[in-house]
Symmetry: C2
Subunit: 430 residues, 2 copies
């Protein structure tokens, strides 16, 4: 598992374009109903004059292209294979773009997501979690048997998980590759100490159903900002992962050894800590699993990304925010407050509230400053207005968002825009 290119089933991906638009897609103009997604995209409808309903979330295609290329180039230049975390978007069309841009594989979060990846033929999947559900494991075994080109690896962080997997996979014809997941106190999953890790590795080696293929973990569960202290915590964790991999050097059962970490917050440190210092005889493949880099954001990742507002990587273009929401002012009950058609069911609110950027009235867009979102309800946004606010009922406001994962999961279909033209639609499956 590591040599060939990652593949997807191009026919399944392009079949998305054949789905017909209708009332299920809540921002799509009713004038496009009955057309396929592909037909609608070829019309290049105008975002503001074609009847798109607010609220809507759109993806800036130029920012997306830029981020794809930037991250692909950066990983290639820093000795990292990229297995983008697909959970962020759950959009096979974007997976395909990532694979085209050179992704080594795709990272997957859940058993349900795994079936979606396989429906689109993703050939190399890093399942960055434990997988102990017997039904999911049996289904995985049939997929591995059906498709000799399918490469899969998941994590184990307990001997009990090894036992449960071995039991569920007792009839499997191909072994399942697993990585020992290292965690840390105060973190999330992952075995906490080296002794535990060695015991797990030992259990894996004894299991007829599993092969030990490397190590992994998630530094993003240990810190939540880019302070020196947080970065030290991350570095210490990555060094433990490095040391554990070396301690397990004689235990790996695969030709190459995967060592994987990395969300979108500390990938500079993944390159620093996991691409060097390996014994010559240990065939390590360092794999980065960032997902949010693809759209970046105007909040959490803007603050924390090494290619964000406070860059820690130099000589590489910064990531650009590709996600925006548009909503309408429907009420201005006082001079200090406007209510907009945007709610918890439309946008993320878990890592910061939407940030107003501009507004549009009668086809003219203008910057907006001094306005602050103070609260979101299920279907409303509360916007605090400055004394000189130009906003009136009927205006459309553009928002930057924070945390792309909890935006994508609210939209089955997201227009791709180039300026004011819709150039495509991205279908998500949640």
């Amino acid at each position: 598992m590591t040599s060939s290119e990652c593949r997807m089933d191009a026919a399944s991906v392009s079949a998305i374009d054949d789905e017909r638009l209708d009332w299920r897609f809540r921002s799509v103009p009713s004038s496009l109903w009955g057309l396929t997604i592909g037909e609608a995209a070829r019309l290049r409808p105008d975002l503001f004059n074609s009847g798109f309903l607010a609220p809507m979330v759109v993806l800036d295609s130029r920012a997306l292209d830029h981020n794809l290329r930037t991250m692909s180039d950066w990983c290639a230049g820093h000795g990292l294979r990229l297995a983008p975390h697909g959970k962020t978007t759950m959009a096979p069309q974007l997976f395909a773009r990532q694979v085209e841009a050179g992704a080594w594989g795709l990272t997957c979060a859940t058993a349900g997501h795994l079936r979606i990846y396989r429906a689109f033929g993703v050939s190399r999947i890093v399942f960055a979690n434990q997988l102990v559900d017997p039904a999911a494991l049996r289904w995985l075994a049939t997929e591995l048997e059906r498709d000799a080109g399918f490469e899969f690896t998941c994590w184990v962080d307990s001997v009990r998980a090894v036992e449960l997997m071995t039991e569920a996979l007792r009839d499997a014809t191909r072994p399942v590759d697993v990585l020992v997941e290292l965690g840390a106190d105060g973190g999330r999953t992952g075995v906490r100490d080296e002794a535990g890790a060695l015991a797990i590795a030992d259990a894996v080696r004894k299991s007829p159903a599993l092969r030990l293929a490397g190590t992994g973990g998630y530094e993003g569960a240990l810190a939540h900002d880019a302070t020196a202290r947080s970065r030290d915590t991350v570095a210490a964790y990555l060094r433990r992962l490095h040391a554990l991999t070396i301690a397990l050097a004689d235990s790996f059962e695969t030709e190459q050894v995967i060592v994987t970490a990395g969300g979108s917050a500390y990938f500079d440190q993944i390159a620093e800590e996991l691409t060097t210092g390996w014994p010559a005889e240990l065939p390590v493949v360092p794999v980065l699993r960032s997902g949010a880099y693809l759209t970046h954001d105007d909040g959490f990742y803007r603050r924390i990304s090494p290619l964000g507002a406070h860059p820690r990587i130099t000589g590489t273009p910064l990531l650009r925010s590709a996600l925006r929401a548009w909503a309408e002012v429907t009420s201005k009950p006082s001079s200090e407050l406007a209510l907009l058609t945007l709610g918890k069911r439309d946008i993320s609110f878990d890592e910061g509230l939407p940030e107003p950027r501009s507004y549009q009235r009668s086809g003219v867009t203008a910057e907006l400053s001094g306005h602050t979102v103070t609260k979101v309800n299920d279907q409303h946004t509360f916007l605090a207005l400055p004394p000189d606010s130009p906003l009136e009922v009927g205006d459309r406001v553009c928002f930057g968002l924070s945390h792309p994962c909890t935006v994508f999961d609210k939209w089955p279909l997201i227009p791709l825009v180039d300026g004011e033209n819709v150039t495509g639609f991205v279908r998500t499956y949640f």
Copy 2:
């Protein structure tokens, strides 16, 4: 608008059963792929031994039936018409159950939702918001023209909204009925004072596109608990709404006058304040818009509902919580912490975290106490374990949830269960 029964298009609703199951529905067993929703339901698969993947959210069909009947009976007995807020579930099959149970209409939140209601032929819709989007208004006008039996009313809370609606509806053949929305300082939408309300009513009367059909508002934006102080705030607001309706008595342009309020937190007070004290000549139809009553919950609504854990209504059976989540323990990195396959993308977290209730291992279910969810990530739940916790990796844990609205929007298909048997599937559209 008020006399006939609310109707839906039965053929469209039952056509939901013809949709084929596949990988798009993330908890559905792969063994059911290829079957239609209706065929799968007729198999009555066992929830625990048929390969349903965790995480999964299920609806208790007996609790649902009970809540449907309870609220329907209570409204009928207290002089209220019920227009359940469909935004909670966005599930046409449940809308149909509510209509069968005697709902007078359905309440709707957004322009996108409105198109979904109409795709299922909902004949009477209270749009409990302003609607100023020109494309949405033009589409509404075509629906009103196409279907003489379609009754619609929405809110206005500014003269500017009246002007925008009038402009967008200049070619409409049927007038759009509107209610003046009354708000309150510190609240959400709604005109803040009587003078403003009278000016809006005057503008509506002068608009060729609109008819003044009543008054409305949402007391739930003014309070968030059931303390005496909050209930006083709600009562004061409802009395202002009552007084405003009387002040506008000569302005209404419809045969009957809708007065509407009510989420699922203070419906006892809606009955008290809005069903009595009307002048004999004012043909008031008091309309309650509760939505969350249908599933109730194990958090926010359990605390605040008049038929919840601290009931303020006597002589009526209490509502029952109908939503549950099941997730798997995949990691227990220390004796104090377990991680489960349940995250922000699976369940609500905005009005309280999931509450563990029981667990299952090898087909045996047992109660679980002393366990507390401390955090949820995108795809993980952190469960703090007591010293004697029986939980091990591989166990499934059942959770009660808080705030149904932000649960439904994460699941396109939700199994209906009777005990451990799946008896149907509820399809949602978000």
